[in-house]
Symmetry: C2
Subunit: 233 residues, 2 copies
Amino acid sequence: MDEEAPQKGTVTQRAIEEIKAMIAEGRLEPGQRLPTERDLAARLGISRSSMREAIRALTVLGVLEARHGSGIYVTALEAGDLLETFGVVADLSRGPRLVELLEVRRILESTATALAAARITEDQLAAVEKHLAAMNATDDPEEILAHDLAFHREIAAAAGNETMAAMLEGLSSRTFRARVWRGYQEEGAFARTRREHAAIHRALAARDPEAARTAAAAHVGEVEEWLRAQLRA
Amino acid sequence: MDEEAPQKGTVTQRAIEEIKAMIAEGRLEPGQRLPTERDLAARLGISRSSMREAIRALTVLGVLEARHGSGIYVTALEAGDLLETFGVVADLSRGPRLVELLEVRRILESTATALAAARITEDQLAAVEKHLAAMNATDDPEEILAHDLAFHREIAAAAGNETMAAMLEGLSSRTFRARVWRGYQEEGAFARTRREHAAIHRALAARDPEAARTAAAAHVGEVEEWLRAQLRA
DNA sequence: CCACCGGAGTGGTCCGACCACTATGGGTCG
DNA sequence: CGACCCATAGTGGTCGGACCACTCCGGTGG
């Protein structure tokens, strides 16, 4: 009864599944510290090298966190931890795939903005306004970009769904870099963006979900259309 | 001009960024074969062990694919490749996070179903009907589950957005397992699911996007509500 | 011409050593 | 007595080399 020889795939893959299972079954709680690499390797009967590969894999997935000199820990398993990789996906997508990604973003962003309009608090609204004002007060592209991102991040947070907010975060980084490049080519893009942001803010302040949904959809759709046109060229 | 000492983070992390950059900048095309592990390690001045960790990390992200005895290749970078990890996220999410995930699925699934209603071809509709019929013809939970998944997969595919379809695929595996468990407890769940599926199919056949959106939202919302109730208990 | 087979090359695994960092506890100084 | 400092044990990080398992291709013999 020695439970040998499952032997499916690589030993590293097996180790990954093993640790995932430990977490899924609750044998490992969020924040908890794991045994040492050497222990884990011995326990599964594999070498430390292979175990390290497994740990590294789960680290990039945002499931584990290795602290040099201290130990390996399970992350909080919050949406932000796990969906960080989502940004990588967005960064590596190109062509038609990028348009699809933007379409997804349009759907989620418009819904999130609509939810935010219904739920946003005064404090959160003030934060949104702060970034809106800062965005309009400068013409340094880098700074505008930062406040633009923060603007949408605040709104997503106000929607009350952390998972959705984390996904939107990932869907934005690449998108926004593209928009900067866009500003280079198309004059008037900044002014249009400013109007769109103002419309979104108006809808939020008025607590009007439908107007917020429409404004957000138009905002993202604008970029989407431009990207579609670029691909045809 | 020897370009030394960036030295940020671990060498493995640097290697990961390096390869990601190669792909992002187009120096590596989808499907292309990479240099050998030994070459890559030498090129970046790191050990093979560290390079292997980097490769393993990008492998689990669906960016690279290692073929034993042959070489390392860049994947097609299709939505399905990159979003496979999305399922892991869903599997490891629990409690409130799971409800949020389901909320995201409701939004995407309803939109996808609406899009499908407008675009679905006769062939695709036939495939949907096939799974609907098969689902109703058996009472083996496993088989029902399989056809249920396929039912929604066909619809997502008909929506014409591969990225969205891949995300929904990841959002389903965990969800559906939960529903099976649900069937154990709540009588009538199967019958209700059957009605909901029929409503979705009706909307698709009628090419009625709004009806499709509503039916799909209700379908997912049903599970969502049940899960919310479970969490309160 | 084809089937077979061998070797070269590749990823997969393992080992053992050492480095870099952290945390802990005991000793020291104020 | 208390706060500080530092030696040290333990942990993850890196390295190099050895060997195994598999794939692929070209030569060889039928």
